[in-house]
Every structure is written in C-alpha cells, then in structure tokens.
C-alpha cells in the first residue's frame, strides 16, 4: 500500500464514519457538523485525486458557505433542541438500512467499471497539467473555453436562486 493509498483509505474511513453519524444523529446541528466533517474528508480526497482547485472550493463553498447557511437556518428555526427524534421506529430503520445496503451493493457492482482504455489519459497527466498551469489555470482553461455557455447560464441560475430565495423567505417585500 503506497502512502497515497494509505492517506486515501484514512480519509475514506473518516468520510464514511462521519456520513453514518450524520444520518443517525438526532440533533440536526450535529448532523450538519458531521456532514461538514465528511466534506473535509472529501476535500482531502479530491486533492489526492489531483483536483486541487475543486478541493479548495469544496471547503470554501460547501463547508464555508452552504453548510453555514444550513446551520444558520437550523438555529434560526430553533430546531436543534428538544425536538425528540425525527427518525422512524426500529422496524422502519432496519428496513431503510436494508434498502440502503441493497443500493450500496448494486452501486458497488457498477463501481467496478473500467473506463475504455482508448480514452484513459496516461498516469499523472492531470498532475502535470496542474503543475504547468497552476491549480486554477488547470480548470480555468476548460471552464472558460469549452464550458463558457454553461458557465454563463449558471450565473443566470444563481441570480434566479437569489431572487427566489428573497421572495420566499422575506415576510413582506
């Protein structure tokens, strides 16, 4: 087992355990925080997989912004306290975990897919690109060239989301 793999498995374990705790904690605040933990572990894995920029974004956007928003709303609605459990009963939990396990098995079968060798880049290509163009440049080039129109459309989507959120959440406009 190489060092990279060792690190990978460490973070994989962290992320799975955190994810499990995230879905089983009673307190929504705890759930959110465990998810943040999962996100950190995933960010580390992203960086292992040569996606430095995305790793940083993962922390910046997901952990730093989206999850803070979640926490904020949970706290604002005061859902974190004295709500009892919001889970199903024992029978329900077992059934649902079984469904989840079934799904996991099926997906694991799919995960054994091997990409067509004709399209696979030589090992280390991405790392080399990142080295040459910098972490940001590596993703900026395709983003602003091949995916320019989706990028612009995304800006419209975000604008729509801002307007929508304000309209929905504001009591009186």
């Amino acid at each position: 087992m190489s060092q990279t793999e060792a690190v990978f498995w460490f973070f994989a374990a962290v992320s799975v355990i955190s994810a499990f705790l995230c879905i089983t904690r009673r307190n929504p605040v705890a759930s959110a925080l465990w998810l943040v933990n999962t996100l950190f572990a995933l960010a580390a894995i992203f960086i292992l997989l040569d996606a430095h920029f995305i790793g940083a974004l993962q922390v910046l956007v997901y952990a730093g912004a989206i999850m803070v928003l979640f926490l904020f709303v949970i706290m604002l609605l005061n859902l974190g306290r004295d709500t009892g459990t919001d889970m199903l009963g024992w029978a329900g939990r077992i059934v649902m975990l079984a469904v989840g396990a079934l799904l996991a098995t099926e997906l694991l079968v799919l995960a054994r897919v091997v990409p067509d060798q004709r399209f696979v880049l030589p090992a280390g290509t991405l790392a080399r690109i990142t080295e040459e163009q910098g972490a940001v440049g590596a993703i900026a080039a395709p983003l602003f060239r091949d995916y320019l129109i989706p990028f612009e459309i995304t800006s419209v989507l975000l604008l729509a989301a801002v307007v929508g959120a304000v309209v929905l959440a504001k009591r009186r406009l």
Binding site: L88, V99, L103
Partner: protein, 661 residues
Amino acid sequence: MPATVGWVWLVLLFPLAGFLANGAISVLRLDAKRAVTTIGVGALVLSFLVAVAVMAGLAGAPADAPYVLSLWQWMPAGRLEIELALQVDQLSAMMLLVVTGVSMVIHVFSVGYMGEDPGYARYFSYLNLFVFFMLVLVLGANFPVMFVGWEGVGLCSYLLIGFWFENEAFANAGKKAFIMNRIGDVGFLLAMFMIFQAVGTLSFIEVFEYAPRAFAIGGTAITLITLALFVGAIGKSAQIPLYTWLPDAMAGPTPVSALIHAATMVTAGVYMVARANVLFAMAPISSFTVAAVGAITALFAATVALKQWDIKKVLAYSTVSQLGYMFMGVGVGAYAAGIFHLTTHAFFKALLFLGAGSVIHALHHAYHHTHSSEEAQDMRNMGGLRKWMPLTATFMWIATLAIVGVPGFSGFFSKDEILAATFARGHEAAAFYVLWAVGVVTALLTAFYMTRLMIYTFHGPNRSGEKEQQHLHESPWVMTGPLLVLAVLAIVGGLINLPAVLPGSGWLHHWLEPVTELSAAYLPEVHLSHSTEWVLLGFATLVAALGIIGAWRLLKPAALKPAREAPEETGIQKVLLNKWYVDEIYDTLIVRPIMWVSENVLWKVIDKGIIDGFGANGSANLARAMGWLGSRLQTGYLGTYVFLFVLGALILLRVVTGWEL
C-alpha cells in the same frame, strides 16, 4: 478599397439612427415636430451625401471585383456561413444613389404633405426604417442579407399602407400587401435553399462565380431556382398574378406611394433579377417567362388604367404596367436597359405621384374647409386645376411626357431601349416579336391613359364645386420644390444612357458592364443595325403621339359629371372599371374555397373533431382518468414517495447491471 467606399455602412447608419430617434419621439409622444423634421430629413441628406461619396469613390477607382465590406459573422452553422456583409459594385452603387436621392426628395415633400398629421413622428420613423431596409436590400452581399432587406421593406410597406389604421379598409389593404408579399417570399426562400443545396454558399460573388460549374445551362435545377426567385420578384414587384396588392396599397399616404410603391421597393424584384443576371441568363426558359409575364402584366395593367377614376389608382396601374416593362427588359437579357428604365421610372413616377399628392392635398384642404365629404382623389371631382396649380400642372405634364415616351424626355430612351432589345431577339424566335408588339400596344395605351389623367385633372371645367374653388391654391414650396427637382431629373435622366444611334455613349450600359458581363457569355449576341433602330425610334414616337392626340380628341372633359352624379358604367367600360374583376375572381377561386375548406373541413372536422376530440380533450380526459387512478396511490407523505422512488431506482439498476454480481 477606396476610402469613401468603406464609408458605405454610414449610408445604413443614418436612416437607422433616424428611425430610432423618431421612433423614440413617437413612442414617448413628445411634441417635437421641428426635431422630427430635422432628424428625418437630415438622416436622408447625410445618407445621400455618403452615397454620392461612395459612387464617386467607385467611379474614381473602378475595379473588376465588387468591394465587400464584411461587418460581422451572422450565422455560422456547419457549412453555412453567412456574414453580414455589404457589397458595393456598380449596380448597387447606382441603386444606392437612386434610392437615397429619390427618398430624400420625397422626405422633403412629406414635410409639407404630412405636416398636420398627428402621427408625424411615427410617419417619419417608418419612412426612415423603410429607407434603411431598402438600402440593406440593395447593399446585401448575399441572399440572406438581401432577404432581410426584402422582408424589412415589406414590413415597412405594411406599416405605411396601414398608416391610417383607424380606417379598416386601409388596414386591410396593408394586410393584403403583406400576405401577397409572403406568397412571393416563399419563392425567394425556396430559391435560397436550392442555391445553397446546389452551390454550398449564398454569397453573391461566390454563387455567381461557381454557378457555371454547378449548373448545366438550361438545366432543371437552374430553371427551378430562377423561377422560384422570379416568384419572389413577382410578389414584391406586383406582377401577374400577385399584383392586386399594389393598387390597394394606394391607401397609404401619397408620398409613401411615390417612394415605396413606385420608385423603390416595387423595383426590388427587377433589381434582384438584374443582380442574379448570371443565373437567369443560364436559364433561357425562366428568362422568357420573366419577359412574358412582364409583357402581359404591362398590357393588362395598362388596360385597367384606362378606366380608373381615382387618380392614384391610375398611377398605381401605370406603375404595374411600367414594372412589366422592366421585367420584359431584364427578361430578354437587357439588364442595363431594365435598370435604366428603373431609374428613369423612379424619377418620373415619383414626380407623378407627388404631383398627384399635391393635387389631392389641395383638394382635400378645399373639402376640409367646406366640410364636404367628397372624394378628394376622384378625377371626376377635379378638372381645370391648372388655373389654381400652375406649377403642379407643369411638372405633371413633364412627367407625363416622360412616361409616354416623347422624344427628349427620359422615358423615351429607356422604354425604347427595352423595346429595341426585345425586337433584336426576334430573329431567335417569333415570340419575341409578339412581346415587342405587346410592348408597343402598351405604350399606346400608356400615352392614352396618361393624357386622359392630365385632361381630366388639369383641363376642362372645374367640377369640385363652387364653394370649394375659393379654397384651391398651389401647394407650399416644400412640396413644389421636390417636384421641381424630380422634373429636372425626369427630363435629363435619359442622358445617362443615350443610345449609340443618337450621339450618346451609353454611359449606364458601360457602367454596369462589370456586373452584367458575367451573363454576357450565355446570351446571344444581339445587334441591330442603325437604320432599324431609327425605324424603331420613329415608330415609338409615332405611337406616343398617336396616344396623346387620340386621347385629346376622344375625351370630352366638359361632358364629365362629378362623382356624386356620375351614371352607371356599362359593357367593357364597367369591366375595366372593375379591373377585369380580378379581385372577385381571386375571391371566388381562392379565397372562398379556402374559407369553406377551413371552416367545414379543417375547423369543424379536423380541429374540433379530431384534434380537440381525440388530441386535446381526449388526452386531457385520459390524463384525468389516469390521475384519478394514480391519486389512489398518493399518500401525500414525502417518505413514501422517496421509498418508492428508490425501489424503482433499484429495479432499474438491476436491469442496467444485469443479474450477475
């Protein structure tokens, strides 16, 4: 490219800016008449100056290939690459000058004619927009750009015909023009598709360059393409069978009739045929069709014009007839002659319309003063007007002599050249002699009905009414000034292409040579001996004189009664008055069957029965029934839905992964 030719985009810019500015004034309902005038007329003056500069630049540095000013890439899609490009060559520069020049004069005239109309700003914004689109049409360097202009002028024509849209008949006239034009546009579109299919490009230069390799001379493909193009030209230039909109288009303000429905837009078809001269020259059948349709239209419209009482209707049919002449010219391969007639016609027909406008303006004022509801455009209500309107009468006579073809006036040369070119091809097929004969008869009729118009309007006793006579007076200088300009052009316009038989150099002919030489290879060499030409010239003069004198002798303006007392017409006169009943025939043959089929088959059976019954209501009922069934499954709980969803996903995954693990 000479520097001034590079300015050509400015020609487009000024009218567009004028449209935007005046449109804004109109939309905002600003009261800024002076500004509207300045902007509207000023844009055209600037445009005209630039056009002159472009023409001068081109004349100073003649080139073999046209100058193409590519503004930007418009539609890059696969093999299709269309640029928004302007083409300046001898033909488009000529048209540029005619369009901006005549438009400028008519804009000035409009200042007086429309001065008291509440829609003054709207009028000028439309007019500027029209000029813009007309220039796009003329300058376009490929078929799609030309088509944009083509559609744009159609739109403006619609807007201006229905300018007084409160009147339902006027609004309907606008719609009629629009629909007739659409029928022709289908032809243009089809032609574009076929050209792209065959040649793989739509730019003029490339199409005309590759055409000899892409098509066989007289082959099916080129014939179909040119016929389709000609269908477009028929619609735009009001030829049989799509001419009926043009007389109705007289519902618009008179300057509009002068500009759009006489001098510029309707000639677009002629321009297009001349532009695509290579294609037409390669398709003899199409060319002959063009000439034949032109000749028949010329004769037909002339007969109708004989018996119209509305002064503008007479001029409208006269326009249709003259357009027929132009098509005859370009149909027999005399492209320069066609453009020549187009140019001279622009001058004298604009003059005639503006003169008529001046008369109508005066009469309208008179009736307005006496609160009479008489028809201000009916010649039966005119007569003897030269006493009150000497300038208008003089100018109109000049125009009449020009259109009739009296030697020395511009129409004489252009009309004669077309007839000569037709006659010259008579040795190929006798059919050309027939066309020539038709042209001559038309010339006779033209002389007759134009003289009739002049006699009834300006000579003999006045029939307007006693009270009204006190209010008749000459139009202000903003209206007579343009008339003067056009009158001068109508006299000297012929000088640009004096035939060689007179001591002329045929300047226009040489000027257009770079454009028309492409087609020269496919046309038979025609040559008329000088003696034959002299004979033809003499014959034409004779015919013109015969028409004028005949009309002078036969018509008795003193016996004419005003419109309110006029007796019912009978016999052939009634047929002519009702324009050969063509509108009624169209109504019976096309409109009514379509209406019947639409109502009884398409609407009642197909739409209400099949589409609504089975399609819309049926599927709605089905959905409702299914929904009722499905709603039994709905618990309203998110958990249930998600659970079922996941189960479905699991089953799908099973299918995707297959059954092995």
